[in-house]
Symmetry: D2
Subunit: 251 residues, 4 copies
């Protein structure tokens, strides 16, 4: 058997970081060589001999971490939120001068959620109607969820590219809010129900047929197959990649 | 075998009336003895010897039909819309003086829809959360559907009776409309999709569990078992009954 | 506020027992006065002054516990499996001599599961077709689940009572097992999928319409509202009751 | 606007053929120039000046039709069943000598069904568990459906390619048939329910998450967008293509 890949986890005592450490330890082809906290120096990653680093830290720290890791010759998988076009652009430039280094920034590591979004976008051009329903526990503060907005935006872009017009809707008399929110012209409905975790359903309709794509996320362990896959792949994918779907070879 | 029940259909050339005539003709224990149109005299029902009349006419005609039929000694099953507390009260008074006559006014004859509404109201007091999603073809003018509003009102009443407070919802940041419309404090979402007909889903949630009740109506034939059941029962149920659920002996 | 009900838990260190102790402690109107293990004497329940005992022990112990508790003047809620007609009959006889004592033996405390079974049986006589699909994690040893068999038996009984014949099925060419197992003439399908816990779906169909009743159980906490409800009710329901549904006043 | 594509329909008086003629006539960019029956000579297709022919005939006639149409210089879209490796091979050889001619043989023109199958195969390698449930009206003779078998075979191939082992299943005690039929190691369940038409659900599961892909076919019109798309594309796709998915540019 080949050498295991040595991995450092930044934010190792946070919820996602700790779950990641457990998952890495359970994988025979991966080895955790460093666990870093907010107070630790990123230089320890290189000292420990890590080939790949996983960053589950905080928006205020993640970009600086990534630049330091690139300089240290380490590939990086980033699950921390807060990245925008500006910060992504600076990483892209930095990587141009560091050939062979790979960085993945992924807003979602649940394979099912990533696939659902991708399939929804691929199917969108073939259907006259499409709507998104997301369902979460009732303690969630925002509606609709970021994943649902992102899904709707992807569907809207695919419809535009295919030259489709607006989704048909003859509603002329509406109780306020009944038809949901509009994201790029796509209707999105947010259900809140005790007992649920995070769920998304994309409904596509033509005369005589319906296609439904649904993802259910029951707990944090669902992110781990995606994280491990990213750790195994990032060294083979130089440059900046945004979104786990590009590592899934779907095309 | 006993004598078939003789039945008159008012509004026999309309869509629902014509489907009703077909369904009655296919039932060996029921016999169509009169088919009336807008221009026919209601007196023909009695002349033809009908024991039961089915009224699928128009809001402007149905109340007068029912009073004439009660006077003629005929039981009546009414599927026409437009009834309110006033018109129902007048029928109730009239029936008080016509003992033995039965009248059923039913907004919905789809057994599955009636059962779904009833089960939702029965289950409501046992769950912390509940929401309603209705799905229809995109040519529908109103949102949410009358059935969904009625379902939500029944759920809200059951929760009030059981002393339950408001459904939990921590949403503090919302894209306009994302959380649906509110009917008596219950969230109702309306999806519009090409290919669908009329569908309703009631979602109930507690910590650790979810109960879902869904009804799909694919076409008009779905109303016929309910109509035939009503025709067979109305003679045994004197007085005014509102809603087919009361004929289903649900215990 | 009135006095809390004092409760003893038998099998308090088992999984269900421990979860029950937690749930009771969180309820202001209920008080845990005794926690018993396999090695403890049932007499401690009376010594501790418990009005109600909850038995989550083992099939070999539960019947003797119940008889001892009846003698001690304690109402009993039983969640332990292994009861049959013989053991239930002996408890019924014992209670005939102990007026005012209540015993509930319930195979399932998930309110949603109990309601789903009850609604399925109520709806069954109104539909031509019905099938049951149960879905569980892939580590389950038996297929179909006990709940699904029980649901199918209830549906079959309701169809027989209503004089319905067999469910229509023109299958003449079948890959072995494709049409599922048969329980009292009702088809039951068992799906096994990593990530699932315990789920059941009852599908009922007529020409033009479908009614679906689904229950999802995500974890053990879903049993607690049912257990607490039983503890509160058992003192008001003398005699033997089998099945939580009889405590739900479903009309 | 460019010239409409001229189209011949073979089997024009059959159910699928007649629906196809209607759909073609409603499309402004397509023109029906010939409608052929069993007794008509295929040579009429060329005489009428058709660029594309659609074959919805019978298994005994379709292969000969295709060879005649290739010789006549007409592109062909085939929806007739009965094709096997032998007949497909003979068409492939014939087309090698007729450069520029395109033939599509498609077992299913419902875009949603084709996409569901494709997405299921793409997702399969990312999930530990997968099962297929198909649901049809109770007059269907075979179980499971051809589409479900085809779907399961595609999933099994994708799992093999990815080096996945068997789907986990600890069932040791089974009521005969409960776990469904096995198609290439994938469990397939067939539900039969009055009111349904043709439906398929693919369930994929990992620890903590589930992905569900469902297709509902309500009536024959659902095949028409796929047929029209094939008619528009076949002239641009020389050689033999098997399966509409290859015309969908799914990336």
């Amino acid at each position: 058997m080949s050498q295991p890949i040595s991995v450092a986890v930044l934010g190792a005592s946070g919820r996602m970081g700790a779950t990641t450490v457990q998952a890495l330890e359970a994988a025979p082809d991966l080895e955790v060589v460093a666990r870093l906290d907010a107070r630790d120096d990123v230089a320890e990653v290189a000292t420990a001999g890590a080939q790949v680093a996983v960053d589950f830290t905080v928006p205020g720290a993640t970009e600086a971490n990534v630049h330091a890791l690139i300089d240290a010759g380490v590939h990086v998988v980033v699950g921390t939120t807060g990245w925008d076009e500006g910060s992504l652009g600076r990483v892209r430039e930095h990587l141009a001068e560091a050939p062979g280094r790979g960085v993945l920034v992924a807003p979602n590591f649940a394979l099912g959620a990533v696939l659902a979004m991708r399939f929804a976008a691929q199917a969108a051009r073939w259907f006259e109607s499409v709507e998104v329903v997301e369902l979460h526990h009732p303690d969630k503060a925002d509606a609709p969820s970021g994943t649902a907005r992102h899904t709707a935006a992807g569907i809207a872009a695919a419809r535009r590219d295919a030259g489709l017009g607006p989704v048909p809707d003859a509603t002329s008399q509406q109780l306020d809010g009944a038809r949901g929110a509009e994201v790029d012209g796509i209707r999105v409905h947010a259900v809140r129900l005790r007992g649920l975790v995070a769920h998304e359903e994309i409904l596509l309709g033509n005369a005589g047929e319906q296609l439904t794509i649904r993802h259910d996320s029951f707990d944090r362990t669902s992110f781990m197959p995606g994280v491990l896959h990213a750790v195994r792949e990032v060294g083979r994918r130089p440059g900046l990649t945004v979104g786990l779907e590009h590592y899934l070879d779907l095309g």
